[in-house]
Symmetry: C2
Subunit: 318 residues, 2 copies
Amino acid sequence: MKKYVIGIDLGGTKISTALSTLEGKIIKNVVIPTNAQDGEVAVLNRMIGTIENVLVQANATKNDVHAIGIGSPGPLDSNKGIIITTPNLPFKNCNVVQPIKDKFNIPVYLDNDANVAAIGEFMFGAGKGKENIVYFTVSTGVGGGVILNGNIYRGNTCNALEIGHITLDPNGPRCNCGNLGCLEALSSGTAIGKRGSEAVSTNVETSLRKYDKVTSYEVFKEAEAGDEVSKDIVDNALNYLGIGVANAVAIFDPQMVIIGGGVTQVGDKLFNRVREVVNKRCFKNMAESCEIVPAGLGINAGVVGAVALAILESGKND
Amino acid sequence: MKKYVIGIDLGGTKISTALSTLEGKIIKNVVIPTNAQDGEVAVLNRMIGTIENVLVQANATKNDVHAIGIGSPGPLDSNKGIIITTPNLPFKNCNVVQPIKDKFNIPVYLDNDANVAAIGEFMFGAGKGKENIVYFTVSTGVGGGVILNGNIYRGNTCNALEIGHITLDPNGPRCNCGNLGCLEALSSGTAIGKRGSEAVSTNVETSLRKYDKVTSYEVFKEAEAGDEVSKDIVDNALNYLGIGVANAVAIFDPQMVIIGGGVTQVGDKLFNRVREVVNKRCFKNMAESCEIVPAGLGINAGVVGAVALAILESGKND
């Protein structure tokens, strides 16, 4: 009986692979360095090695495994199983699904980090029991994923929910993507740090000046300590994050918006501000019917999400 | 054999009811005044009367009919079959589906104008053969509907795709909904007319001054004739419409964006500007893979959409 799935969280630094029950209970987890510099074949073989490794450790065989899910940085093509390109991995237009499928003769599914996180939250995290969920991740960049009627929605070219690149201020700061005023250019950790550095480069009075290097961490810290410039920067970034969430509420009419990523470590301050903006900008019944909550999965979110991907996708094919 | 469906386009002025084949070929169409002032029961009875009327005219009976679709202004609750409220119809939290279902013993489906138009375009209009379509309607207001993986997506409270109320300029003009800088407040026909009237109320030199009343029609006309103020107003509104469409592309990664509604009568000028903004603001592969086209259904879009709703929803239950 196929009682397990395997999830692989493929990162630029490490590969984390878990054997899990169909209910998401992790039986064994193996973490090894990616060694991305060794190239495509080596990294693929390391991924395969972790699969063999968790099976051995759990005293299981490939015949016990229903499906394998892989979460990877994008852009990638989930339908074709191809990683198109990503800064910290050696894969270029590389099919990572087929070799693993060939090796184990098990269905293998690939999706990007944000979608995998959304699926993880939907199946085992803050969104358990909900059918329509928008997931935001706010860290160095801003990304997202969406569960609609109980399924991940990927779009035509597997690029849906490029929510970090919706325009919220047509004349706002330049984004890394080239556009002006993207959510990511206004609300990401990188953006917050950048606004802090810009402030230091002027004559404005700010306690940020004492740092050699200003990142979002220092800006949040000094805002907490009462520095007016830092408080302005944080408030501005959270206001735009609130507008981004409000736009997602107007578009998806979801039951829940889940926000994860490093920037959410500031906690209530972020969620309170986002809720305030959503209440101000959205239709009352839509705002009231939508919960806005922190991600529920912690440090293992990546591998739990990959497990959830395997369960969700293999369930579809049953 | 159930070879027909019936579509009802319920409007504040008229009720248009059509008997159609399952392929969307309209056999008979009856149009009568709504007489909204006569109240809920009277209007419901008039709707029922049109159903009986098309059946008699087509020499058919209710046993020939697979399903009935109703398109109505919103807000409404498709799941419950309830029209919540609408300015030009007498219904207040009124179930319009149940009495018709009871009368004919046929499945009856209700949806809002924008969703019905999206379904119509998907099944019989510009979006035929596509699976992921975002539909915008730009007239006095801005609304929308979305087809995802071949199905209409309605959201948690049946209010998905309130695309007219996404914020595109946090400090922009006040929208009727109360929010600042909504797409509708920037790009609707009403907004364009308002900017024209505002211009006339100042000392700026503009040929709009010759009109007693300025609506979007006069602004488009004078822009065409070379009036700089009108040209600015039009360009600004179409730029924001382009940003709204670009945001929908970033979020849905659709195969096609269809734009309908009165404002699209200006034609190429609108579509060229929208495409230009999408190309500028979206990721290249997403912009290139998404067609942006005018609505394909003409004057009968409402009733064709209602027919399409009946076909789509009854097909789901087969």
